[in-house]
């Protein structure tokens, strides 16, 4: 027993030393060791499969779906993942792990798993979650396009002209504001990178004011009386109220803005 405690104490001290002395090389130019890479990759695949199991796959053969997927892929995915004969953008080549070519993914992965990754993203990889940026239909369109892309020659990929189908207005709020959904959305709009927000893990940098107690604050941005309705308006277009505000317009949907406002109202 004593020996076990001793070993535990030494390991904890060793781990603390590695952290405090900065011994771990965090650089993107230092790839994981092969066994570490394998372990992370394997854990990621099983994690995705487990979550993909519950997803029902719609009909992915429809031509207009594939066409819209092509346009969305070129607008949102190609920078990092490249395409047939097209390299990823320079910044993407500098990422570790490197974004994978999806022509391979299209052959090796189940569509429901690809959909899940597009929707939820993958922590610590640079793969973002698109669920607050695209509708389910749009994400399925991307998934539907991948096998078509994998069957294209580079010439075919390059010559295909794809135009985005205008968004159906899924951006109008359809559901009652929900603080729990807002709490999740706060993470997905990176609010915590500029504001300290109680209970939200992240940088909590003091770029803008801290949001502790914002539910009982009287004014928003110094210009707008605080109410959940005004908060939602402010979040969607700060410049409409404070033209010179450094707070960017983050492209929130009406629903997301109302959900976030409902969450912020709980911070008394």
């Amino acid at each position: 027993m004593k020996i076990l405690l001793f070993v535990l104490a030494v390991s904890a001290a060793g781990a603390a030393a590695v952290v405090r002395l900065g011994l771990y090389d965090i650089s993107a130019t230092d790839q994981h060791l092969a066994p570490t890479y394998w372990l992370l990759d394997t854990a990621m695949k099983y994690s995705v499969r487990r979550r993909g199991n519950d997803i029902e796959v719609p009909d992915l053969q429809k031509a207009d779906l594939v066409r819209n997927g092509s346009a969305l892929y070129r607008a949102h995915c190609e920078h990092c993942h490249g395409g047939p004969g097209v390299a990823p953008a320079p910044f993407a080549l500098g990422m570790t792990p490197a974004p994978v070519p999806l022509v391979h993914t299209a052959r090796a992965w189940r569509p429901q798993d690809v959909f899940w990754v597009v929707k939820e993203g993958i922590k610590m990889t640079g793969m973002p979650a698109w669920k607050y940026r695209m509708s389910d239909e749009e994400m399925w369109a991307v998934v539907a396009f991948l096998p078509a892309m994998a069957a294209m020659t580079p010439q075919e990929y390059r010559s295909e002209k794809a135009e985005l189908t205008p968004k159906s207005d899924g951006r109008i709020a359809a559901k009652a504001p929900d603080p729990a959904r807002g709490r999740k959305a706060v993470e997905q709009y990176a609010c915590v990178t500029c504001h300290a927000i109680p209970g939200v893990v992240g940088p909590n940098f003091p770029v803008g004011p801290p949001l502790a107690g914002v539910g009982s604050r009287v004014m928003l941005g110094g210009v707008l009386p605080n109410s959940p309705e005004n908060m939602a308006l402010w979040l969607r277009a700060p410049q409409a109220f404070a033209p010179r505000s450094a707070m960017p317009n983050l492209g929130l949907s009406e629903q997301d803005a109302r959900d976030i406002a409902a969450f912020l109202a709980t911070l008394k």
Binding site: G208, R217, M219, G221, G222
Partner: protein, 109 residues
């Protein structure tokens, strides 16, 4: 020896900077605490505007202007110059007063 003495006097002066103490007093006298929470200022627990906790580390003032002692003094004196529709009133703070207020607020890191 004389130099060392001067040094000691300066150090002693720093520990209780008169500008800082005057600033603390002024923040009270101008009623800043009615609208802002300000650590170390008596009864400053207002909730109209944002709290001034750690205001020295804040990147933007009023959401619009990069934080620096100079900009903060200007903002205190004429908030409308930076945020035209702001609810923060122009309290007629003099330049010297603003400077001392900033001296205190910059101790809030």
């Amino acid at each position: 020896m004389r130099l060392a003495l001067l040094f000691l006097v300066l150090i002693a002066g720093c520990s209780k900077d008169p500008a800082v103490e005057n600033g603390r007093l002024l923040l009270r006298q101008f009623g800043c605490g009615a609208c802002h929470e300000i650590p170390g200022v008596a009864a400053a627990d207002g909730r109209v505007g944002p709290p001034l906790t750690a205001i020295a580390s804040r990147v933007y003032l009023g959401g619009t202007v990069p934080n620096s002692p100079e900009n903060m003094a200007r903002f205190i004196r004429r908030p409308q110059d930076f945020v035209p529709r702001t609810a923060m009133p122009d309290l007629g703070v003099t330049e010297a007063h603003a400077r001392d207020m900033v001296a205190y607020l910059y101790t809030l890191k």
